[in-house]
Symmetry: C2
Subunit: 416 residues, 2 copies
Amino acid sequence: MITNELFFQKEATKEVVKDAYDALYKEMVTDEVGYYTLPQSDMLLKIEGFIEDYDLEVKGIKNIVVIGIGGSSLGTKAIDTLLSHTPNRNNLNLIFMENVDPIEIDKNLKNLLFEESFFIMISKSGSTIETTSHVKYLIDRYDAPVDSSRFREHFTFVTDRNSPLDDFGREYEVPCFHIPANVGGRFSVLSAVGLLPLTLLGYDTRALLAGANALKESFFDRQEDDLIQKAYYYTTHSKDFPINVLFSYSSAFSAFNDWYVQLWGESLGKIDKTQNHVGMTPVGIVGSIDQHSFLQLLIEGPRDKTVTMIKVKDFQTPLTIPDVHLPKLEKTDFINNHTFNELINAQCDATMQSIKDQGISVDMIEIEKLDAYNVGYMIMYYELLTSLCGYFLGINTYDQPGVELGKVILKEKFAN
Amino acid sequence: MITNELFFQKEATKEVVKDAYDALYKEMVTDEVGYYTLPQSDMLLKIEGFIEDYDLEVKGIKNIVVIGIGGSSLGTKAIDTLLSHTPNRNNLNLIFMENVDPIEIDKNLKNLLFEESFFIMISKSGSTIETTSHVKYLIDRYDAPVDSSRFREHFTFVTDRNSPLDDFGREYEVPCFHIPANVGGRFSVLSAVGLLPLTLLGYDTRALLAGANALKESFFDRQEDDLIQKAYYYTTHSKDFPINVLFSYSSAFSAFNDWYVQLWGESLGKIDKTQNHVGMTPVGIVGSIDQHSFLQLLIEGPRDKTVTMIKVKDFQTPLTIPDVHLPKLEKTDFINNHTFNELINAQCDATMQSIKDQGISVDMIEIEKLDAYNVGYMIMYYELLTSLCGYFLGINTYDQPGVELGKVILKEKFAN
């Protein structure tokens, strides 16, 4: 169960709400945008079949290496970080090859045995420079040329159907999983991009999809109009509140925050039809840690932010602060005999109260517990919210034309 | 060697520059603000003596556990993350107990043996609720009451002289290291707060202090007026550019970015003398990863940001992208036979160019290599820049009154 309470005015009229709903409905039924239907795809069947055939245990696989960047890694990392404490998670190491920072590459591979590793190369086109450079390096370092059985048996591709990478895979008999062409990278975590590694790690990816589907169904049943109200409020006030803070009260959300930053920033930071620069800047912080970092700025700094609090009601990890008295520090004894679960949630409530008292627009998302179902729900929550904001901003939510120039300049630097 | 080039107008007049310089000089010589003189303190002598006497190896210590939050942990984490690949770093595990998230506490302690652990409790007052709760829990879990030799031999305190925690330590013979009273938490990494754990981990903390001192001396020799120009530009344009992005091109900077966010946000987000809410919002991102996340928003989104690029010239990790051809992906072969070092730096340059082409105010910090000296320099760079911004905003840079209300509300929640 997840609830969301908005502590600001719902300003969208019935007509505005209906139009926004219709816009998303149209994106879905025309297949213009594919993420809505990912929870119903049969990709999991294919993945489960593959995993059964491949049999990691017999092959002695100990490491899942995801080679991908941005939308190809952030979602998987977010979900694994949210759920890594749950019993479903097996003991495989999950390693990401994202950055081309040589220090990071060296650290990642220092003790990695090729024979114990299963590599998933993820790229919609296949031409991402970071990803191809990593794969070239791996081929050379581990002596696994593309036409060898070593390569074929240890690599898998996740890519668009008929992309250059898909063609490569077909020709060299490398297993390929396809991302629907109408699903953009940052909306792709519920496709093979996330489902393949997450299923390999033991997670209940059926429950993940079920959670996402539940919110989607509920939204398209008109049970979630508050999502529309929230998006309307954020976008119509985006000049006054250009920064949207996600204040998640659990360290398990650290990578989810990063996923949110990409989803929000890259989807909404656009030039609109009238050539205006629009969008809002996402900031992800973690409570209670960032009470000691960012909270001062929220409370006393410029009034340019909205804040969403995320609270986990039941951490399912019952640890109590014992009735221990520290000499001279008796002032802190009010917390003795309470659980850490109570403490962090009381901190979340107290912080929200102190923010709300400043007249800052805030809302609270309460999650019953961290499990695959609720995480799927949260993924869909932010995807729908992003689509709605994009609709209200009058932009294309799903492209990223602004990053192309840098790629061209990069290539020129290496010409000749 | 570190250089910083500003690609925007230097607008501060000679008089403005002189006045800002004088303000910081006065803070330093009157001892109103203590971080300026940390590089000259004799704390390292005390720490080195302690480490020699304590002899971790003989005691079988394998884990350094830092119990602290905000300014008590972020600086150490930043420096360890920047330098963990260097040969000085020994094999001790560094564990942070920061958040009161029970999942995180459970994960941290799951395989931790008390006998192999050295705990450093860091708090200026000693009354930080997260930190005391952690210590109480450790005492109970590991059966180490405050008056036991187990506690005395495995715990150390870092705190203000004559704070309640210092009194506790004196009475129970727990070793104490002192933070100067005029050094705030977020400016304290070059005090015992950072020096104790970092020296334990094998780092050349003398070089760290030398680097910080070099910039400080140079600044007070009037060789670094560009720092003043930058602060003046940021603060006088803070209404137009309320967001300052730090775009660091190396994953090693991820925790440094977090340290910067606290330093910047908590120091500058204030109510000024005329009751205005002032300050700028810090955002830390990592290249090349966040080219695939945040760059689109930078390029096409609202023009409300300044950007500082950080480039590491020599990663001292020579890895080459081999001359391997991936079938169908020949377009990426322009990078073959170049190093990852070249690639990530070319990406940094290309991204900066594409941002600059948009008319966005940008500057570039180039670091010769990641070593303790240069990291010390970077710490002092951001501390001085923060002080200068605080001066120009006309605020108290060193307090954090806005976080008190939440603490009061929290306590009320647990009052009977």
